[in-house]
Symmetry: C2
Subunit: 365 residues, 2 copies
C-alpha cells in the first residue's frame, strides 16, 4: 500500500539494482528503512531478527532467500544447506517451512543451470499469489462494509475496530484484516479505524497506525482498554481482526486481547469478523481453547515499552518497579460463538464446521 | 501498608518534625520520596500536580491543608481564601469539595484561638475514618476470599485479578480493592495478584505493582489484554476492582477497561466484585451507561508511555508514528448485570437497587 503517496510492497525484486528489497520493520514507525538482501545470510538475519514478520511475508522472504542462493551456488548441497539455515531462523513458523519445502521440491529435479531463474520466478509468483489472496479477502470484506453502509445515511462514516497488525506489513500487500478497509477507502466509502495499540508489543501503535498514516486512512490510536466503552456508545460499527490459526470448528487464535474485544462486540450486538487466508486454517484442531497451546513470552515485553524519546532516538522504558515479575501469554482463543463470520479468499462463512466445510470441501472431513 | 518492611500511610502528621508528610507519588515506582507540606501552597501543589491522587487521599490532604493554614492565620478571610485556593486545584473532585466544606463549617463558628488545634485534630480524624472504612471493606471482602478458599484444597493459592490502583496509595491506608487482599495476606491465606498494567496511565504497573512489592504480596504484572485468556484457563478465582462512582442501581463507573474484565469474568463464571466506600455511591444516577458522562483526556497519555531508562533516569517514549491522533476515554461503565457484588464498609450486597437500599436505607429512595 502507500507510504507518503508512493506504492510499496513489504518485499520486492528491484529491477534497477537486481536485488531483493524489504522494508526493515524493526524501526517502524519512527524510521522508514528499505534494505537490500544480497546473500543468504541477509535473508536469515531478516527473518530471525524480525526485520520482516507475519506468516505470509516470512514465507515470501524465505522463497526469495532460496532463489538468491541459487544464483550464487545452485548445487544440491547449497540447496539443502539453505533449507537448513533458513529453517532454523524461526523453526515454529508454518509458512517458513512450507515455502522452504516447496522451493526444494521444485528445484531438486531441475538441472543446476535452470535453478536460479526458475526459483526467482517462483518466488515472485509466491508474492503475487499472496497479494491476490489478500485482494480477494478484501473484496469479500468490502461487501460486508457495503452492507453496513447501506443501513446508514449516505456518506456516514463506517467505524471499524482492529487489533494488532494484520496489515500489509504482515503480508506482501493489502494485509488480511486491513484489506477490506483499504478496499473500502479506495471505493470511496468513508471509513474510520480504531487502532488498538496491542500491548505488549504494540504492533497496533507501531505498525497499523503507521500503515494508516502512510495510506491516508482516517484513524485514532486507542489503548486496548477502550474498545468496550466505544462499543457501548455506538462508536464501533464492526470489528475486523486477523488470526494466526483458525480451527476446523471456527475458533480463532489471535493476538492476546482479541477475545476481550469479541466479548464486547457480542455484548453490544456489533459484528465481529476475522479475516484469514485459508492456509491458516488448522483442519486437525477443533476446540481452540482446549487444544491450542499458548506461547508464554518473556517478561521484558510486558515490563518495558519501546518508543521514541524527545531527541528522536529510540529506547525502552521500564514501566513497573524493579522486582515485579510479569505474565505474558502471547495469544488467546476466541470461541466461535462470538465470531460473526470468517472472511476468506473464497468468501465469507459462518465460524462453524459446516460454514468452513461448505467453502473448503476438499479439506473438511 | 508496608514499604520495605516499614509501615506507612499515604499522608500523616509527623510528631518529630511537627509537619504533615506525604508520599510524593509522581515518582513511583522508580523512586520513593517522602515530602513535607509546610504551607498552604504546598498542599495546593500536592493536589494540583498529583503528588497525591485518589478521592479519599485528596480529601484528607485538603483537610490537613486547611488545618495547617489555621496555625499560620486563623482568620475568617484566611479560611475562606484557603477554601478557594484548594478547591481550584481539582475542581471536579467530590471528596475535595466535601472536605473543604466540612472543615469550613466546623471552624467558622469557633473562636480563632481554637481553630488550629481543632482543625488539626479533625484532619487526623478524617484520615482515621478513611482507614477504618477501608479496614471494614477489607474484612467484608476477606469473607468472600475465605468462601473461595473453602472450596479449594487447603493451602491452595487464591488468584485475584485487579485493574488500576484502588490501593492504599489512593486512600490513607489499606485501599479499597486491595484491602481484602492485604487482609487475606495478613490472615495467612495464600493469594496471588494479577496486576493489570492499566493503560494509558499505567497505574497498575506503577502503583499497584509497587504496593505489592513493598508489602511482599505475590503478584505478576500483566497487560490489559491478558485477563480474558487467564480466566478461560482457570487462572483467576475472582476479580476485585475499585470504582469512582456507583449508581443507585448498582452500575459501576471505573477506570477504562474494567467493563472488558467484567465481561470476561461473566463469560467464565468467575466472581466479579467491586470494593467501594459508600460516599462514592451516587444516589441521583440510575443507568450508568446512559447517564454518566465520560471524561475524554489528552492524546499524549495514549501516544506516550512514561518509565525508567537503562541509566535510571525517567522519560516518556512515543509509541506511534508522528501524526496519529488518539482517542482517550478515561473511564467506562460496567452494567450491574456483570457485577457479582459490591463490597462496602457495611457489608457485601448485590449490585441492584434493592441490594444497595438494604444496606443504606437512609439514602435510598
Amino acid at each position: 500500500m502507500k507510504v507518503d503517496g508512493k506504492h510499496f510492497r513489504s518485499i520486492w525484486f528491484d529491477d534497477d539494482s537486481g536485488t531483493v528489497k524489504i522494508i526493515e520493520q524493526r524501526w517502524l514507525p519512527h524510521e522508514f528503512r528499505v534494505v537490500e538482501l544480497i546473500k543468504r545470510e541477509d535473508f536469515a538475519t531478516a527473518i530471525r531478527d524480525m526485520w520482516v514478520r507475519g506468516a505470509p511475508l516470512i514465507g515470501a522472504t524465505a522463497a526469495y532467500g532460496v532463489a538468491v542462493q541459487m544464483s550464487i551456488d545452485p548445487s544440491d548441497a547449497s540447496l539443502d544447506e539453505t533449507w537448513q539455515v533458513l529453517h532454523e531462523t524461526r523453526p515454529t513458523a508454518i509458512n517458513l517451512r512450507w515455502a522452504l519445502n516447496h522451493m526444494r521440491e521444485l528445484l531438486k529435479p531441475l538441472p543446476e543451470s535452470e535453478r536460479a531463474s526458475i526459483a526467482m520466478r517462483r518466488a515472485a509468483e509466491i508474492c503475487n499469489e499472496d497479494v491476490e489472496c489478500n485482494r480477494q479477502i478484501g473484496l469479500n470484506g468490502l461487501e460486508l462494509i457495503r452492507e453496513i453502509a447501506a443501513k446508514k445515511k449516505p456518506g456516514e462514516t463506517i467505524k471499524i475496530l482492529t487489533h494488532c497488525n494484520a496489515g500489509w506489513l504482515a503480508t506482501v500487500d493489502w494485509g488480511t484484516a486491513t484489506s477490506p478497509i483499504y478496499h473500502a477507502a479506495e471505493a470511496g466509502i468513508p471509513v474510520h479505524v480504531w487502532v488498538d495499540e496491542t500491548r505488549p508489543r504494540n504492533q497496533g501503535a507501531q505498525l497499523t497506525a503507521w500503515e494508516m498514516v502512510g495510506h491516508g486512512v482516517s484513524h485514532q490510536l486507542i489503548v486496548d482498554n477502550a474498545g468496550g466503552h466505544l462499543m457501548q456508545h455506538g462508536e464501533v460499527d464492526m470489528v475486523i481482526v486477523g488470526t494466526d490459526r483458525t480451527t476446523a470448528h471456527g475458533d480463532v487464535c489471535n493476538k492476546i486481547g482479541t477475545y476481550l474485544k469479541a466479548l464486547a462486540a457480542f455484548d453490544n450486538n456489533i459484528p465481529f469478523y476475522v479475516a484469514l487466508p485459508s492456509p491458516t486454517i488448522d483442519w486437525t484442531v477443533k476446540d481452540g481453547v482446549a487444544e491450542i497451546p499458548i506461547e508464554e513470552r518473556e517478561d521484558a515485553e510486558v515490563t518495558k515499552v519501546w518508543g521514541k524519546l524527545e531527541d528522536g532516538s529510540v529506547a525502552s522504558v521500564q514501566i513497573c518497579p524493579d522486582g515485579s515479575p510479569a505474565g505474558n501469554p502471547a495469544f488467546d482463543v476466541t470461541p466461535r460463538r462470538l465470531v460473526t463470520g470468517l472472511i476468506t479468499e473464497r468468501g465469507v462463512c459462518k465460524a462453524s464446521p459446516e460454514g468452513l466445510a461448505a467453502l473448503f470441501p476438499e479439506f473438511a472431513k
